[in-house]
């Protein structure tokens, strides 16, 4: 099993006719993902390499039976695109767009919570989700993932998601699903959502978690692991050497007043029984040891 998506997931791409949309949409299809339609207002009736384009998500979903959407549109259109997908009944929305104003993200979160509780948003500003050999929605390069389980990956950082996949695949350890939740202030899906789903997934035997400085998501995840997760968890938290008080990129990673430091997060995770590594490579090595011992 995998979490959130599988080989039957039918995906539409909002923004398939754009540069990035086309590149990654077609790559997702090449990987074997069922990419069934694209959505670009005003371009209905055209196609992208044989994939039909519709004017709206509603029309695309009705015509194809899609239940997932991949959003690759510029920041100023992203909030509307997410809400349009939810309103059309799409159950799983992946938004990779970065630089969406925090206010728009907070508004989207509120609309989803009130009006579309059946829709799960992954992202924004995330690399997406890949269930190796089954489904890849997003911008992760499929060839770095290895099918055949047993590790679930959840990561707040895009590039470290790839790094985590790569470390495991290089060492012959496959993944059930790898979820990049993104580092923006208001992620639709968080560590706890993924940890709960991995805990419930019989194929997933262990979880690799990648966090970073800023916020309290890792501390909350640690508390959740302590209470609800029986599977082994390995974690790496990026930013041990980040200077305090400086915002490291747009990821919302900032250390201030002693809160949200890498050290504090690692301590909380360690206290919850998580194996904490000092870099992604060591995290991969620790996970290999755990998998070998299963």
């Amino acid at each position: 099993m995998s979490i959130f998506v599988d080989e039957n997931t039918k995906v539409i791409v909002q923004g398939l006719t754009g540069n990035q949309g086309r590149f990654h949409g077609l790559r997702n299809r090449d990987y074997g993902t069922k990419v069934v339609a694209g959505v670009t207002p005003g371009k209905a009736g055209t196609d992208v390499d044989g994939i039909p384009i519709f004017d709206s998500v509603k029309e695309a979903a009705a015509a194809t039976g899609a239940t997932a959407s991949f959003i690759v549109v510029p920041p100023r259109f992203a909030a509307d695109a997410i809400i349009e997908a939810a309103a059309a009944g799409i159950a799983f929305v992946v938004c990779i767009t970065e630089f969406i104003p925090a206010k728009d993200e907070a508004m989207v979160a509120s609309v989803l919570r009130r009006n579309y509780p059946g829709t799960r948003l992954l992202g924004p500003n995330c690399p997406g989700i890949i269930s190796p050999g089954r489904c890849n929605i997003g911008i992760t390069s499929g060839d770095i993932a290895l099918p055949g389980g047993p590790v679930g990956i959840v990561s707040r950082s895009g590039t470290l998601t790839y790094q985590a996949l790569y470390e495991l695949s290089q060492k012959g350890v496959g993944q059930t699903t790898c979820v990049g939740i993104g580092g923006d202030p208001v992620p639709g899906t968080n560590f706890i959502d993924c940890l709960a789903a991995f805990e419930a997934d019989p194929e997933t035997k262990a979880v690799l978690m990648i966090g970073e400085i800023g916020g309290e998501e890792e501390e909350k995840a640690a508390a959740f692991i302590k209470e609800h997760v029986t599977k082994p968890v390995v974690a790496y938290v990026a930013g041990v050497t980040a200077p305090p008080g400086r915002k490291m990129g747009h990821a919302g990673a900032i250390v201030s007043g002693g809160h949200g430091t890498a050290q504090g997060k690692m301590d909380a995770l360690r206290e919850a029984g998580v194996v904490v590594a000092v870099n992604p490579t060591e995290a991969g090595d620790r996970m290999v040891e755990i998998v070998e011992g299963l």
Binding site: Q20, H24, P75, R76, E98, F99, I100, P101, A102, K103, A106, M107, A109, S110, V111, R113, R114, P127, I139, T140, S141, I144, S155, R156, S157, G158, T159, L160, T161, Y162, Q163, Y166, G183, P185, V186, E212, I213, G215, E216, E217, K220, Y236, A238, G239, V240, T241, A242, P243, G245, R246, M248, G249, H250, A251, G252, A253, V278, N279, P280, T281
Partner: protein, 383 residues
């Protein structure tokens, strides 16, 4: 973008929040003139983009011209937590009857806005949170509903604000909320929010962080941006659209993605070296961004070696390799470089790199291995 206090007060004024008017000056004589203009007693306040100015001696009351000159001389040039004071704000001293604390921010965990209001202001709010948590009223605001009049009145009562001041504080609360939301701020903090002896409510300080992602709908922010103080490397990087923070080590870092860039700093440190910078190329960076990044790092004299750590997702490795090629043609790079390239189009990227390999440019398979080599090269010094 963290605003200076004087910019924050300008930002507040746009939304009707009452603040003290004042004068921004850069030398002691101008400070004397400014103090005369606003009237004694006046306050001279260091303008730095960091908290804790008061404690560091960066905020002082002056009663006459001589004192204004002495104080301005002492404060200008002062180092406050690594920030040098280049300008001071001079305003008339307010007659304070009461001091409160108020802030608006986004509570990531709850995905709603959070308003904090404390009847104990003028001090560190973290301390109040520990010693007298009941003094702080906290209210979450659903972005779709906004802060209503009734809610503002309730917060003010919850914070045990003095009865007669409540309507005035509630009004300022609503104005600050408007500034926070319409102004696309990540943080709006006033410490202290004061009640003057004439009963008027007034923002004595202004700490504002704007959401850079929203700058496309705020052309007026350009004026703030123009006044920011960046070190030379940071200014150059910004002009080229790069996400760069100058540090004081010898290993230049170029990575894609904030997480990988931070992890790169971590592994360099674990290999016994120190990063000269944090540089995140961002998502989908092309050849030009890579070439610009190398150019920026090339201006940093402390850099002895560079570690390029790329894991392509939306970023394509062949574009990164082309950028390195372009930079080599465009500028005379003075440092040796170690490149780690994986992910999207890595094969194509490596094919391009193969044509560039030399004593100066080498490719390493792993992140940890590349970090070790970069640190070793940095210790040896430039070629």
């Amino acid at each position: 973008m963290d605003l200076f206090e004087y910019q924050g007060k300008d930002f507040f004024a746009r939304y009707g929040v009452p603040t003290s008017s004042g004068v921004l000056v850069r030398d002691p004589e101008a400070a004397v003139d400014a103090a005369r203009k606003v009237g004694f007693p006046a306050v001279v306040k260091a303008q730095v983009q960091v908290g804790g100015r008061g404690k560091a001696g960066g905020v002082k009351l002056v009663r006459d011209e001589a004192e204004a000159r002495d104080v301005a001389t002492a404060i200008l040039g002062m180092d406050i937590k690594g920030h040098i004071v280049h300008k001071v704000w001079v305003e008339h001293a307010s007659d304070i009857a009461k001091e409160y604390y108020v802030s608006f921010t986004l509570d990531r965990g709850v995905k709603q806005y959070l308003c904090l209001l404390s009847s104990e202001g003028g001090v560190e709010i973290e301390e109040v949170a520990k010693t007298n948590p009941d003094a702080i009223a906290r209210v979450h605001i659903d972005p779709l509903e906004g802060l209503t009049d009734a809610e503002a009145a309730r917060v003010v009562a919850d914070a045990s604000i003095d009865e007669p001041s409540r309507p005035g504080v509630a009004k300022v609360l609503l104005q600050l909320y408007q500034a926070f939301v319409e102004g696309d701020a990540d943080l709006v903090e006033v410490n202290p929010l004061i009640i003057k002896t004439d009963g008027k409510v007034h923002a004595l300080d202004a700490k504002v962080t704007l959401d850079d992602s929203a700058s496309y709908r705020h052309p007026e922010w350009e004026a703030y941006r123009a006044d920011m103080e960046l070190d030379g490397r940071e200014a150059l990087a910004r002009s080229k659209g790069l996400n760069y923070i100058g540090l004081d080590g010898t290993v230049g870092i170029i990575a894609n993605g904030a997480g990988l860039a931070m992890a790169t700093l971590d592994v360099v440190s674990q290999a016994g070296g120190r990063a000269a910078n944090f540089l995140d190329l961002g998502g989908g960076a092309g050849a030009d961004a890579m070439a610009n990044a190398l150019e920026v790092i090339n201006t940093d004299e402390n850099v002895q070696a560079v570690f390029v750590n790329i894991f392509g997702g939306i970023t394509r490795c062949d574009e990164v390799a082309k950028g390195i090629q372009e930079a080599l043609g465009r500028v005379n790079l003075t440092f040796p470089m170690v490149i780690r390239l994986d992910g999207t189009n890595a094969r194509e990227g490596h094919e391009i790199l193969r044509t560039l390999l030399s004593d100066q440019i080498r490719v390493e398979e792993t992140m940890v291995g590349a970090a070790a080599i970069a640190v070793e090269l940095a210790k040896k010094g430039k070629r």
